[in-house]
């Protein structure tokens, strides 16, 4: 009955360290581990913290959680992983000796004693035979001391972010800026792209039709603009009256002439990125201001004409790890934003919040975690409030003006697995739900839990798309498990669903209620069990967003096909402890022949797929459809293509400087239609998983750029 594939029968014994067993000497010298401290601080501490506690998506590198995850694995696997993938998004960028010293330091910080032989990286020594997760007292004191300057001193800005000054770095003025009104947001001009998904309904569809199936092959580069390198970029260019507002890394905002690419003003709000992940996906426009939710969890209002700061408001304390990546939406004089990285045990919880557009004053907060005594508070297996975490909102919501209701998705509860959370079979509200809120008060109108008691890092946080089918007002969304859900957006009642990729997480979905039943082994999983999940944490569907084409009633969905073995790790129930507490090993999705990428078009009335195609590289941009019957999408392999919306047939394609990224938009200036596409880096699991699974696909680790395409004059391009 030996079950190999992952050797799961031998797990339990090695999980919790070897504290009762005498430790053997470590395979490194004291000189290596001492030098490794400075190199760790310089290259790793920005994400994993000076005390190796981990933060955000960076796991702890010391203590019981580290030993639980790594105790049964070997020192060469640790070395190979660090070398291949670190610093995040820039693996193999340091010399091997630096990696050896960093690994020696990590082992020493987990109690391993130095020996006489230097670490080479090829030693295959089980980590729990040399380390127990207990940091020596002298080393712990050094970690808590303020970082010193000089080489290996203070944590540097992540991933080669260039040194630069901050503030209003380029002054300029837009003399005739037309303030954005509620009416404009509800009925945007054809040539504008005023918000994240273009319209309040979240369609990512342009009514422009100059570029069509017969002339799209003539697209040419009109202009391009190199964006900040360093950090993650998943931009949505926002365009109003021929001005493009562009969010860059380091919370830099630029106003560009959307016809020529000429810079008008630039505000480098800062700070420099200290993490290689967590991009600002979108800005918001309202009145005469540009609203910038920053990666350090603040909301800035800039004067749209000049780029100068009008006000700033703190969403949450960034020093505790909070961030905003999901962008914002402007509704009736308020700016609504989400919050992310709420994966530490503490008395605070994640929330959606609204700010007065004129003053920045907080209007309301809606906490996305149900606490004891509150409605839904009985869905956490009686956990103390401080151990109920997650339910981040890292994608901006959508809005129905007629119903005066805003729709948001939430992420899964944290840590990832039921066993690590100790949440039993509870739904852990309001994680992985659709929330319908009153935008004036933040009051909850209804919620729908898509994945009660989720177990695999399978978010249901993504875009909520509002579509009417006759008299039925619906909201559609799709999450990482790959189920396209349709709810009545007035009542929150389940209407229908469709499976878009292979999944084995749910045994069934109740056809009347939509409530899924998890596999029995998922329900019974314990700490240390390796459990299969198809899809894995890159989805199904992830942040590269769908597009809805109202002419054809088709939703075009970028999909990802890979699987994971997930192991629940123990997480100490203690304030300040954080992380996701799950180990992952990836494998190819059965029945895909290694094609990670899939694009599929679903009719939203029938919920049936009209067409689909697969390819090796997963898609890494949101989809754009247009009234020209042409759609656009870009991928991990630097390719962007135009396809016929009705058939999926590729009509035009080109290669980009690095991987395609962010959200493709279309706009018009002086009667000419443009397509703006980002080439860039970052992207979390949708980038991380194919980096592991598709080592043959390469792209440069720099090159954040916006590229704008248009037709030449002789092809109806005016």
């Amino acid at each position: 009955m030996k079950r190999t594939f992952l050797g799961s029968t031998v797990l339990a014994a090695g999980l919790l360290g070897a504290s009762a067993i005498a430790l053997e000497q470590g395979p490194f010298t004291i000189d290596q581990s001492r030098a490794g401290r400075a190199l760790y601080v310089a290259n790793c501490a920005a994400c994993h913290g000076p005390e190796l506690k981990g933060a955000g998506e960076a796991p702890p590198l010391a203590g019981t959680t580290f030993i639980a995850a790594w105790g049964n694995r070997s020192s060469d696997e640790l070395y190979n992983l660090v070398k291949a993938s670190m610093p995040y998004g820039n693996g193999n960028s340091l010399d091997p000796d630096t990696y050896r010293k960093i690994v020696a330091y990590v082992l020493a910080a987990n109690g391993a004693q130095p020996g006489s032989k230097a670490l080479t990286g090829s030693e295959s020594i089980k980590i729990n035979t040399i380390a127990d997760g207990k940091t020596p007292a002298a080393m712990a004191a050094e970690e808590r001391a303020p970082a010193r300057g000089g080489e290996g001193g203070a944590p540097r800005a992540a991933t080669f972010y260039p040194q630069t000054r901050f503030g209003l770095t380029v002054a300029g003025t837009l003399p005739n800026y037309d303030p954005v009104t509620d009416a404009m947001l509800a009925h945007p001009k054809d040539g504008d792209w005023l918000m994240y998904r273009r319209n309040y309904q979240g369609w990512s569809h342009s009514p422009l039709s100059q570029i069509n199936a017969s002339n799209v092959k003539g697209l040419q580069l009109a202009w391009s603009w190199a964006m900040n390198d360093g950090g993650a970029a998943q931009v949505t260019p926002i365009v109003h009256d021929g001005i493009m507002f562009l969010s860059n890394t380091a919370n830099t905002v630029q106003a560009l002439d959307a016809k020529t690419g000429e810079l008008i003003w630039e505000n480098r709000i800062g700070p420099a990125p200290t993490r290689a992940y967590g991009a600002t996906r979108s800005l918001a426009l309202y009145g005469d201001k540009v609203f910038v939710p920053t990666t350090d969890a603040k909301l800035y209002a800039l004067d749209a004409k000049t780029g100068q700061i009008v006000w700033q408001s703190v969403i949450e304390d960034a020093k505790e790890g909070y961030s905003n990546t999901g962008g914002a939406i402007a509704i009736r004089g308020k700016i609504l934003v989400g919050l992310t990285y709420c994966n530490r045990y503490e008395t605070k919880h994640c929330f959606i919040s609204a700010y007065d557009a004129n003053t920045g004053k907080v209007a309301w907060r809606f906490k996305t975690i149900a606490l004891k005594g509150e409605p839904g508070g009985d869905t956490w297996n009686n956990l103390a409030d401080e151990f109920r975490q997650g339910a981040e909102t890292w994608i901006a919501g959508t809005y129905d003006p007629d119903l005066n209701t805003t729709y948001w998705g939430t992420a899964q509860s944290k840590p990832w697995t039921r066993a690590s959370r100790a949440s039993g079979a509870g739904a852990t509200l309001y994680a992985n739900s659709t929330l319908a809120l009153d935008p004036d008060s933040g009051k909850l109108k209804w919620y729908y839990s898509h994945a009660p008691g989720e177990n695999f890092d399978l978010d249901e946080v993504f875009e909520r798309v509002l579509v009417d089918h006759g008299a039925s007002k619906d909201v559609l969304t799709i999450g990482k498990v790959g189920v396209l859900w349709k709810l009545n957006r007035v009542t929150g009642q389940y209407e229908d669903s469709a499976q878009t990729v292979f999944q084995n997480v749910f045994d069934k979905i109740d056809p009347k209620t939509g409530i899924p039943t998890y596999r029995k082994d998922v329900q019974a999983a314990k700490i240390g069990d390796w459990i299969s999940s198809c899809p894995g944490p890159a989805g199904g569907h992830d942040w590269p967003a769908t597009s809805y084409d109202p002419k054809t009633d088709l939703m075009v969905i970028p999909l990802h096909q890979s699987c994971v073995m997930m192991r629940a790790e123990p997480m100490e129930k203690k304030i300040g402890v954080g992380g996701d507490a799950g180990s992952q090993k990836l494998f190819e999705m059965p029945g895909t022949d290694g094609n990670l990428g899939k694009l599929a078009a679903y009719n939203t009335t029938t919920m049936k797929a009209l067409w689909s195609f697969q390819q090796k590289a997963p898609f890494l941009t949101g989809v754009l459809t247009t009234d020209g019957g042409v759609g656009f999408v870009g991928d991990f392999d630097r390719r962007v293509r135009a396809f016929e919306t009705a058939t999926g047939r590729t009509l035009w394609q080109t290669r980009l400087p690095t991987s395609a990224q962010g959200h493709i938009v279309s706009y018009a200036v002086d009667g000419k239609q443009y397509i703006a596409i980002e080439s860039g880096l970052g992207g979390g699991s949708p980038v991380g998983k194919p980096t592991t699974l598709l080592p043959g696909i390469h792209h440069p680790n720099n090159g954040n750029t916006i590229l704008v395409f248009a037709l030449p004059e002789n092809l109806n391009g005016n």
Binding site: T4, L6, G7, L81, F502, Q503, S532, D593, F613
Partner: protein, 170 residues
């Protein structure tokens, strides 16, 4: 004559539930798994496997190439579902080296045959530095693949719908 026709139709209708004399086949790509960035250096290669059921014997054949270290074992495993690992069911014969072939002739129980038809069987090849899995692939009925970037009508091959599942297991 009409009765004979009805009998033939009835036999055809129930035939898939029994062992068809003309054979059934299942196949898979063998891909490096399970992977992390830390194990990727040792878990390399690719291959294909084909199994054919003639109503009595299951014939397994396949090939592999590109392993980082020499092959040690190959086996058929009976998983708990498609993509869900389970216990080893049969050893396969494997030629030594970092590239080679696998083969076997196997008798199945009726329960194992149901599992095979439900997509629960997978091939796993281990190697010196990847003893818990180097190449893996789930055996599924042949399915059409139009080619990269080529649109097809509908959602494409979705094993949980396109492979008949065991009523008791899913």
């Amino acid at each position: 004559m009409r009765r004979v026709g009805i009998c033939i139709l009835a036999l055809l209708a129930i035939a898939p539930a029994f062992s068809p004399a003309w054979g059934e086949s299942f196949e898979t790509r063998l891909s490096p798994s399970p992977l992390t960035d830390g194990t990727r250096i040792n878990i390399t290669g690719e291959g294909r496997a084909l199994v054919q059921w003639d109503g009595n014997i299951l014939s397994v054949s396949g090939n592999f190439t590109g392993l980082a270290t020499g092959v040690t074992t190959a086996a058929l495993y009976d998983g708990a579902g498609i993509g869900i690992p389970g216990p080893k069911a049969f050893d396969l014969t494997v030629s030594p080296g970092t590239a080679g072939t696998i083969w076997a002739s196997i008798k199945l129980t009726s329960s194992q045959l149901k599992d095979l038809r439900a997509g629960h069987f997978y091939v796993q090849i281990d190697s010196e530095k990847a003893p818990d899995g180097n190449l893996t692939g789930w055996l599924l009925p042949p399915y059409p693949f139009a080619g990269e970037d080529v649109p097809v009508a509908g959602p494409g091959f979705l094993p949980q719908f396109d492979v008949p599942q065991k009523a008791s297991s899913r």
